[in-house]
Amino acid sequence: MDLKLPPLGEGIDSGSVVGILVREDDQITRGQGVIELETGKAIAPVPSSASGKVTKILVSIGDKISVGQAILSLESSASASVKPPSPPAAVSAPRPNRPAAAPPPPQPEEDPEAATWVHDDPADDSPVPAASPTIRRLARELGIDLRRIHGSESGGRLVMDDLRAYIQRLQRLAAHVRTAGPSAAPSQPPQPSVDFSKWGPVTKRPMSTLRKAIATHLSESWHTAPRVTQFDEADITALDQIRKNHAAAFEKKGVRLTLTSFALKIIADALGRHPVFNTSLDEAANDVIYKEYFHIGLAVDSEQGLIVPVLRDVNKKDIMALSKEMNDIAARTRERKISLEEMQGGTFTITNQGGIGGSHFTPIINRPETAILGLGRGALKAVVREGKILPRLMLPLALSYDHRVIDGGAAVRFMLDLVKGFENFDEKTLVQLEN
């Protein structure tokens, strides 16, 4: 049997092979990583869906491969499962809406309805939607997979109008790709190349897959979300003292206590009181989706570029657990051993430049989220308290938000709440953790 590249997750249908983890004649077991694949967001090992002996490796390093493409040939051992790879349930189920993670396929602006009836990657075994014999025949003749189309009638029945709309959309997309090029920002054709070498020596380095994905994702955010950035400062003199008081105790447990650990907890608390900052906008349905979970993304500066792993259910975890998880996830992200799942499903993102330096900046929203908080480096400043000038440790905060969903007033209130959170952190919660 051939081992094929399984569905990878939200909106990701291909990647570049950056490592091959097995050799021909190797005996492998189900779940063992066989290749390392670089997709838009990370390098992740691709697990084998079966056990057996590798008879032939069908890809080489540098190949760009797509979902469903054969990776290697496997001679199944008798006891091993020879079932076809079963994709994660979330992927195999028909999804009426376009997945909300980056990088999305280019979407022409004039086609907002597309999202409601197109399925991106039908699994091989997903059922064909109900359609009359005439439509099924036409689809066969045109080479169209009906599983890519969402039937609009009752019972999911697919009618001629659905097929026609799908074909028209394909045409519009094709026209769009012709004018704009596949990797360009959604509404802009690429700028013509400039020969910079006429002014001096240059080196050309091709963009990595990750760099291209970052470019597409951030351009898309830039072009869709009308962004406002709200600045403020929090007095973290007391919080820094608390951190110092407990750093050693945490260290004993092998955990580094950082400002980000506190920030995660403070933000999760504030998000609970300001749910509009924990939303996504479904542009096709004109719905604002309020998420009742708090998964916070953490922008990590890796050697290859920006990667945003996600910490789950931050509101339900204490600072010890969060710190531990964060240390681990940040380390794995820098080594690019983070899995795709760990980068999906975020509801809000933190980007902390303080470790490097910097003051206020204007973060770009990590779509489809609607807000992001940037932290600068805390710096001692002369602050007036009760008529006296005092040296206080001030943390620069920069909150960018999607003005389509969030109003300015809400942003100020959220920011004040955050500031309060930083300034009035309750030390008792830490004492309990250490005992």
Binding site: S132, R140, G143, S154, G156, R157
Partner: protein, 474 residues
């Protein structure tokens, strides 16, 4: 004689073969149709569907006349002239068969009578009455069909031990008839003889008749058979058969291991059908067969040999004429390069017992066995005005519904004329109709077709003529 070259050869002129030949000719292909028998039409037309239905119709009259007594109309005892019955039945076969001949001529399909033998993937030797002809071709469609199975234990060379072929000739009306096998052939032909006056005993190795159909649909058929036949015995096998004078001595073993020793005037062996692959020269081609001899095909009717396609009974699956005809069209479309497939095609099944049994799509038993998320809505014909008017309320219409989409994915029926009604179910499934589509469609009154609409209404708990407390939100 010179070899013949043609674009397409079709081997076998049954409902698969002649449908393929005609369609290919309609699409502009040069076609040669090879048939080993004198008559065109295959088993279905000459010794299957058509003659059996003719005999069922004729013989049912006898029983219906008797049953009309309580309606105040009585008839004298029937006078049965078997020669006249046979020649009437043969007349129908003759008419249809010559019709196939006529249609072949009109289309310019050349017909060659003789036994075909593959000498290679693209050459067929045909032994005709006038000698051997060699035929070469681009593609061949194998549609040689199936024949009744006759296990060795029954094969005594005694003409009183019949398969369906001989039974349809109705040489006489045996006083005691044993039917071995309670499948659709045994039940249909058993009915013919029971109607004509034979005392019929059915023995079946399985625990029931008509395996494959849902038990609630079988029940009325079984009840009626128990009335019309002398006896039905299940979990019973025939261990030995021998000739004893003008009778057949039969030993059977029942579920209690008790052996029975009986004499019958005739025995009908209806234990299934086997593919007719012997003497075809398939070994000279690349065709692959399964362990039972059926030719392996894909959803385009292609065999493992690139020059050969197979359709109908020889290609396995359900052995039904309309399945063969559909496959014939798929095969021809494949040959002319059109994208065609048998995937997702709904093949209905009809059993012409009394009452008739018909189903299509997913059966309730199959859905339950697969753990599919379904619901079932049933409408009993006891609540049908039309069924009451002809005294046959022993019927049931049921819909198998996919819970997630409310689409109808299976329809089953038992009752008088169910075979004529099932096509609506096929259209509903093929069109992806929901239960509501059927409930909202007006069905004429008073007809049996209303039972489909009412079953759909039962699903929502709002059937006019059946009370069901089950209510569903729209």
């Amino acid at each position: 004689m010179d070899p013949i070259h043609t674009e397409i050869v079709v081997l076998g002129a049954g409902p698969g073969g002649y449908a393929a030949a005609f369609y290919a000719a309609d699409l502009g292909k040069k076609v040669l149709l090879v048939e080993r028998e004198k008559k065109l039409g295959g088993v279905c037309l000459t010794r299957g569907c058509i003659p059996s239905k003719a005999l069922l119709h004729a013989s049912t009259m006898i029983r219906e006349a008797r049953e009309s007594a309580h309606r105040g109309i009585t008839f004298g005892p029937p006078q049965i002239n078997l020669d006249a019955l046979r020649s009437w039945k043969n007349g129908i076969v003759e008419k249809l068969s010559s019709g196939v001949n006529f249609l072949a001529k009109k289309r310019g399909v050349e017909v060659l009578h003789g036994r075909g033998y593959f000498e290679g993937s693209q050459s067929l030797r045909v032994e005709t009455a006038d000698g051997q002809r060699l035929v070469t071709y681009d593609k061949a469609v194998i549609a040689v069909g199936s024949k009744p199975a006759l296990p060795k234990v029954f094969d005594l060379g005694n003409p009183r031990i019949m398969t369906s072929t001989e039974a349809l000739d109705v040489e006489d009306i045996p006083e005691d008839l044993l039917v071995v096998g309670g499948g659709y052939i045994g039940m249909e032909l058993g009915s013919v003889y029971a109607n004509l006056g034979s005392k019929v005993v059915v023995v079946e190795a399985l625990p029931g008749i008509l395996s494959g159909a849902d038990p609630d649909l079988i029940r009325p058929v079984l009840q009626n058979a128990q009335k019309n036949f002398r006896e039905l015995r299940f979990n019973t096998t025939v261990t030995q058969m021998s000739t004893k004078g003008k009778k057949i001595r039969v030993l059977t073993v029942g579920p209690d291991k008790a052996e029975k020793d009986e004499l019958f005037d005739r025995v009908l062996v209806s234990v299934g059908r086997v593919p007719r692959f012997d003497d075809l020269g398939l070994e000279n081609t690349k065709v692959e067969q399964d362990e039972r001899g059926f030719i392996k095909v894909n959803d385009k009717m292609e065999t493992a040999d690139p020059a050969l396609l197979a359709v109908g009974d020889i290609a396995g699956g359900v052995l039904l004429a309309h399945k063969a005809s559909k496959e014939a069209r798929i095969a021809v479309e494949t040959i002319v390069g059109e994208p065609s497939t048998s995937a997702g095609v709904i093949i209905p099944a009809v059993v012409f017992t009394d009452p008739e049994l018909a189903w299509c799509g997913v059966s309730e038993a199959e859905a339950r066995a697969k753990g599919m998320e379904i619901d079932v809505a049933k409408f009993s014909w006891g609540a049908s005005g039309r069924a009451l008017t002809f005294d046959r309320t022993d019927g049931l219409t049921k819909l198998v519904v996919d819970l997630a989409t409310e689409r109808v994915i299976g329809v089953g029926m038992v009752g008088h004329g169910a075979g004529e009604l099932i096509a609506e179910g096929v259209v509903a499934i093929e069109m992806g109709a929901t239960v509501r589509d059927l409930a909202e469609t007006v069905h004429p009154h008073p007809t049996l077709s209303e039972t489909i609409m009412e079953a759909a209404e039962v699903y929502y708990g709002v059937s006019t003529h059946a009370f069901s407390p089950k209510k569903r939100e729209e």
